[in-house]
Amino acid sequence: MNIAVCVKQIPDQSVPGKLDPGTHNLVRDGKLILDDSDSYGVEMALQLVDRAGGGEVTLISMAPNGEVSGIRTALAMGADRAVLVSDPSLAGSDALTTAKVLAAAIRRNPFDLVMAATESTDGYTGTVPVQVAELLDIPSVTFAKKVEIENGILKVQRQTESGYDEVECPLPALVSVTAGVVEPRYPSFKGIMAAKSKPVDVLDVAALGTGPLTTSQEIVSVRAAEERASGTVVVDEGDAFQQVVEFLEAIKVI
């Protein structure tokens, strides 16, 4: 069972995001970390390979600047190796360009399953996994809250508006998971040490052989959204519920 897991390295989300005023690209200076949403796919992949009795978990990632600190976190969890496509020309890539790069990187090695998060925490377009699946010409199941593989069949519980669907499909396939799918492990000290010597192949776009990649959307302007002003904040001394009652009265909800 060989599983390719798409992971994204993102700026620390405790610091608000910024767009470069000139290029309108996301500012990605400073340390990048593993997107928390991706830790679930990494964990799920490790468990599936374990249950299958062998195979490899390969991380697939893209970054304009060769950053690997987030990838090392996923390697420390137990992934076997990583492929990082790093090229300055990828700065500001749209979702489809990102998917083309990831699909080309995945295709370089045999795989049974591709794993991804439902969406990234910083860009949250939520389209990249299924775009990758279409480019690889494989079936996809999104919004997975439970994933199993039995006799070469992927079995997924997929969240729906009213509950969930049981979806099955033969491998190879792509599955995108929610944060409810599994509890990710913390990297152990041993894992962190081992991660330092695990292979990370760094490729540029030319090595992928995708041909020219162009982003076909243009950002015209960026403005701050209308801010909601914060209102009154009170510290509860045992009677703050009264203020809630008065507020609900004032807006005629009660």
Binding site: G126, V128, V130, I138, G163, Q217, E218, S230
Partner: protein, 321 residues
Amino acid sequence: MSLSKIWVFVEPSESGVSTTSLELITAASGFASTVEAFSYGVGSEVGQILGEHGASKVVVANGLNGVLAGTAIASIMAKRISAEAPDAIFFGSTAEGRDAAARLSAKLDLPVLTNVVNLSLEGGVLLSENAVFGGSEVVSARFKSSGPGLYVIRAKSFAPEARGGSAASVEEVAVGDIGSAGKAKIVQSHVEARSGPKLDEAPVVVSGGRGLGQQDSYQMIEELARLLNGAPGASRAIVDAGWVPYAYQVGQTGKTVKPTVYIACGISGATQHMVGMKGAKNIIAINKDADAPIFTIADLGIVGDVHKVLPKLIEAIKSRS
């Protein structure tokens, strides 16, 4: 100068078609002279309501046989796109909508703009406004390339409006063979029932998060919601933890709500949550952590323990009735 044709992916609901779909049809009819809907799992009676909102035709996919809807719709659209040449295609920001847009985009090399919250037509070109960073900034964008652009639009970005047009004609098409993408099949559907008003339509929403500490405490959320004739909601954290079903989730990957009042209990206010509720007319937040981001958008913030504040609040409201 308006566009000539826009396609809209219309999703079913228990009452016919989803409200978000009607929002998209209404918006599309403001930009193009012809609006055509693509749907599945609906009867021909939906032609009436789609027509009233501005669609002239609805193409209904039949014979899905368990194939995932987004995949099926993308395949049907892809087969007709070059002959029928729509100027743009609208999708709701739902699981199926994103699946459909993503498949179609990669199949035909068409760009997608996601998290669209507004659209305008300038010089015959659609200009979209997209919320980024959880809605703290708005990016205006347009496509540089030719060919129809795909727009994935967030719920409640436009108001649905029945303008009394005649019923849309209904064309039924078979899904047919859709290749390897069609190998993923639904073998069984499970419905997790919820009672009370619909989360995305209720005038009052009371939501709970991690700060509740344990699953049992969610009962307080349900009780307060019931007393206020509202709907109970939840942060992604407690849905992922399995305390409540996904149908309760408010936020980027859940429901977008715009109630008269939103009461956030034990929710710190991750951007992915705030994007789904910051459009509420009034926001009340109760949270132990005075630095929680939710307080930056709350009209009334109570720094306190939900386990102390909520029981008193519930008693006080009960004693009034």
